[in-house]
Symmetry: C2
Amino acid sequence: MKRLDTRQEDFAATFAALHGWEASGDQQVEERVREILQAVRKRGNAALLEYTARFDRLELADAAALEIPLGDCAAALAALPAKGRAALQAAAERIREYHQQQLVPSWEITDAFGNQLGQRVLPLQRVGIYVPGGKAAYPSSVLMNALPAKVAGVQEIIMTVPTPGGEVNPWVLAAAAVAGVDRVFRVGGAQAVAALAYGTESVPAVDKIVGPGNIYVATAKRMVFGKVGIDMIAGPSEILVLSDGSAPAEWLAWDLLSQAEHDEIAQSIFITWDAAHLEAVASAVDKALTELDRAPIARTSWQNRGALILARDALEACTLANQVAPEHLELAVEEPRALLPQITNAGAIFLGIHTCEALGDYVAGPNHVLPTGGSARFSSPLGVYDFIKRTSLIEASPAGVTELASLAKTLAEAEGLTAHARSAAARIQSGQ
Amino acid sequence: MKRLDTRQEDFAATFAALHGWEASGDQQVEERVREILQAVRKRGNAALLEYTARFDRLELADAAALEIPLGDCAAALAALPAKGRAALQAAAERIREYHQQQLVPSWEITDAFGNQLGQRVLPLQRVGIYVPGGKAAYPSSVLMNALPAKVAGVQEIIMTVPTPGGEVNPWVLAAAAVAGVDRVFRVGGAQAVAALAYGTESVPAVDKIVGPGNIYVATAKRMVFGKVGIDMIAGPSEILVLSDGSAPAEWLAWDLLSQAEHDEIAQSIFITWDAAHLEAVASAVDKALTELDRAPIARTSWQNRGALILARDALEACTLANQVAPEHLELAVEEPRALLPQITNAGAIFLGIHTCEALGDYVAGPNHVLPTGGSARFSSPLGVYDFIKRTSLIEASPAGVTELASLAKTLAEAEGLTAHARSAAARIQSGQ
């Protein structure tokens, strides 16, 4: 963990190096992924069965066994402990309600000449959701990826999840049932992305693929982009906690570690302008680290990428936060609304000392798929807007076309495009 | 040009091959672009000056000469023929008005427990617009890329345009003045993309890069994606004209060729269920081809990639259109609104025989940057939504946090994430 003080001479450079993160392509991974994509594209189910045997140590009897029946999802949901089932359902309901606010209507307007102009909004038809398998299989991730698609009106949601050694996480199946996923396939890795992008005899090709995954999945998504849509390529998770000392140090320690426990390369940054509070949080993190199930992961993350930063004041702290453009930003201060206008770059902002980041991971309602690696400067949380497409509508009226066509003709001639000009000119005559 | 009939036995396969287009990465291009990106990143202006000398045959005196003063843009606008200047300004006004409809507000809601949830919408701070130089320098492209950013509220728009041999297109500079571009640099190619992504001593780094370009520009944009946002990677332009025979064949010939004249690999597809009309359009295209300034380009496009398709009826024609998911779709029929509900995939739809595609290229108002290569299945025209970012807001109330934190704790425990669970648990106590 780094301790920094903004008054240090080399602070700017050290800080830039701290939060800079560059995803680097791995050529070997790219070559293996390219091979897998081609194999699935050419040989469909046969390739899926082979890769599933090789990578997931799972020999399936036939292609039909690639699909997990929806009945299994319903059964998994029914078999959950009552409290867990209720929590999953309550979370889904809150996520659904939040995302409904993101729906936008189609519209049409008429110009002064009687021409009609509009924008039609339609849901994507079929979407694929990649869900990681094994230990990092998170039911919350199923809800956060599937529900915005559902709210958008996507007709068919296809989920893929690897089941290494045949092991299925019942919470993930249960979440699929709660979210209303339409079909589930037990495939993972680049082969799952290939199946969703190109389709096989069993897996239908989709229009867009979303969901987190390892380097093979991320590389495959990058490669099929264009053939299908993809969501952003997620980097390591980050939290930045900005504190005026009004929250107990222990609370903030848990908050910082709730990112660190995800991943050795996750990043937790703490900024305050209260030196004593900074020391208290430092001690609280050390103590909390001894109480975690995933302590080795959290400790590595905190040691290598964590930071405690002493700023001059709240305003300087906000400037630093904007430079990081963090995925998660906690404003653990007494008057969070006073700081809010200073923050321009963040995936999600958690206001006030009661609002820990974990609320947003599960149940608050907003999506937990957020821009990482500084991309909050230019991108947004996953949302309904990722599962719709817009089409422009133009309908010139016989009376109104002359005005438009005359202007178009002038500009087409300026660009030296004869057919454009003639095409427009033909309509001028029609309108006269 | 291919003539197809949907009643042919091999129609489905021939049709799929016709409209299938796959952008393939070129490894040699990638290596050269990677080198250019690294050079500009490391050596800034010095590298820009070198590449501009090498690729644009333009020796600039110093780094200051990289910038084209805004005064030059204003002067170019003032020097345009009056009719051209008025057309450019009228087009800008219509584009601005259309895009204003795309603005979405920030919002906040309060849940039953008094917790506040919201979504804040802010414009990107600084955006880069790449404008191709030389012959394919289009003022309309400047308007279509800059104005949505301007409407979104982007604070600073940086334009780059190569000036091969020092040649500047006055229409492009004039369009920059009309659109309100803030700074203009005479650089192009991968080096311009690098300058916008990483910044140099003169060119400020931006948050997102948009605009069309050749294979070097497209490859560079792909490579800097993540560091900055990018718009879609455009493929060849396409038009699909669907006709019931109510428009004169000659009009439709101009419409088809207005795509073909853009590019040898542009694609124009004509579909009708009236065999005589199909023959009339075929002849009209042949005749129109003799009258074009850019006849060689248009002829190559039409011969290699054009198609005339005889369908059984309007419904089948719509199904084919959805399979193509064309960038531009003309419904050149008497009752276009009757067919509209059948169309699910298209970048822009031009309704009725008066609405030629060229109107949309210049002045109708909707954006002319549209999804190509079938990506209208999952993506949208360039719009204000490409120049904003959303941030989720969560503010738990002291009274409302208990409900949320209890649910979050249950789900965090199911996922085996101790710090998440403890972080939530700490807030349950606070709320009691």
